[in-house]
Symmetry: C2
Subunit: 285 residues, 2 copies
Amino acid sequence: MNTNELSDLVSEYDAIIAGTEIIDNSVFEKSKRLKFISRVGIGLDGIDLTSAKLKNIKISYTPDAPSLAVADLTIGLIISSLRSICFANNKLHLKKWDRVFGRRIENLTIGIIGCGRIGKHVLNYLQVFKPKKILVNDLYTDETLSKILNFEWVSKNEIYKHADVISLHLPLNNSTRNLIEINTLLNMKQDAVLINTSRGGIINEHDLFTALNSGHLSSAAIDVFETEPYFGELTQIDRCILTSHMGSMTEDCRTRMEIEATEEVIRFFSGKKLLNEVPDSEYLN
Amino acid sequence: MNTNELSDLVSEYDAIIAGTEIIDNSVFEKSKRLKFISRVGIGLDGIDLTSAKLKNIKISYTPDAPSLAVADLTIGLIISSLRSICFANNKLHLKKWDRVFGRRIENLTIGIIGCGRIGKHVLNYLQVFKPKKILVNDLYTDETLSKILNFEWVSKNEIYKHADVISLHLPLNNSTRNLIEINTLLNMKQDAVLINTSRGGIINEHDLFTALNSGHLSSAAIDVFETEPYFGELTQIDRCILTSHMGSMTEDCRTRMEIEATEEVIRFFSGKKLLNEVPDSEYLN
């Protein structure tokens, strides 16, 4: 649903349970009754938080519910990329038998950018595969965590330079938009694998196309796009695995997200304390 | 290389380092000098062991080297199947945005048939994903192992009936050939996922095609085939992931397999004790 369609609908309602729709000031202008947005999921990049605050519209989200499903897809994409599963599958369905050499996590350096709810689950899942080294970057470091999950806190540049697999687990905001552009990509190893299950817009899609098309990176796996549905130029690259924003799309996690978002609406109108109101820190990005 | 081509070559050599080629009595008849076969890999189904023994040709293999790579691919295929990674990737490369609901291992019963070198590694990797229940079948049970790896020893029939994901880790021999045929498949849950990274011939391929084509099973992922290269009817089924016998195909494992096979030849001609001579139990199958 685009903002026009949403604007037409929203004027009748006191609260909306929202997906990844763009909800900007044009929607708020038409929504005289709107008091509450309950966001199914974790990303807030589609909502104009400042305008909502000015109009005294409260916002909750479900930040925990999708984490395990996104981390699970991330591990699936890492192994699919390293073992060329989708590539070989496509070939064989076209009756071409092409045995491709792969790599195992045990022999590789894994870089994780963003160590929040999802990044931590990915780090936990990785343990059993015993990576040679795990490098992690986030705004804040925590030495206890790095000991438990066997990783080193490093700069983003060190990850770009040394990691064989780089996975992004960041929100989209002013400091992460276009974080990965052509120069960042070219700083990565020639045979690196880049995974993004977080948010579109963090990787510049045209730059990723240019890099892959020139033979740089061994592969990429992208679940999220700047504009969704995505039908752009990355669809031309065989060794770029593309999935359709399916990180949270497991039966259990979607159910939990939808129940949590609905319960939050009930809490709001019952005058109960909200459990997942968006924290002030999200308004600063 | 087929048996004719191999027969023409082999007469000149005292030993061969062999892949998955069929080596039967027709080859031995032409190989007056042959004293030793060093098999790169684990499966012995291609070698006529009895004829080799009658001709006093010794055989070694590399049973440990491929295990981790095969287990790693197995986990990749399980997650790819449960999360429809290849399916969504194909759609999106055709510019179709199709968000598919998936399932997580944590909510599922996983069935492992065959608990040898590879099955054990798969069971170890599965731990971090905390399956609801793990059911395992093998000829011999070991209560210590099932405690460490959190599983129950059960019959094959219980696995067919209750498991959401069934993964085969068996050798191909007289008791496993066509183990999975149409009746076994129909005993599995309607939405079960079937994985085979062990040997072709254990699943009857035509029966699997029939079952999938009728809508039975949610998906399958098959890395090994009765005749390879495989170009058969399973290539018509979108939700059957097909890879080209790539279980052992990681850089580290192939290197280890080839070094081990070569070292065994050197040991043989130096009169040293062989490290990986095929045990007598393999001759009984």
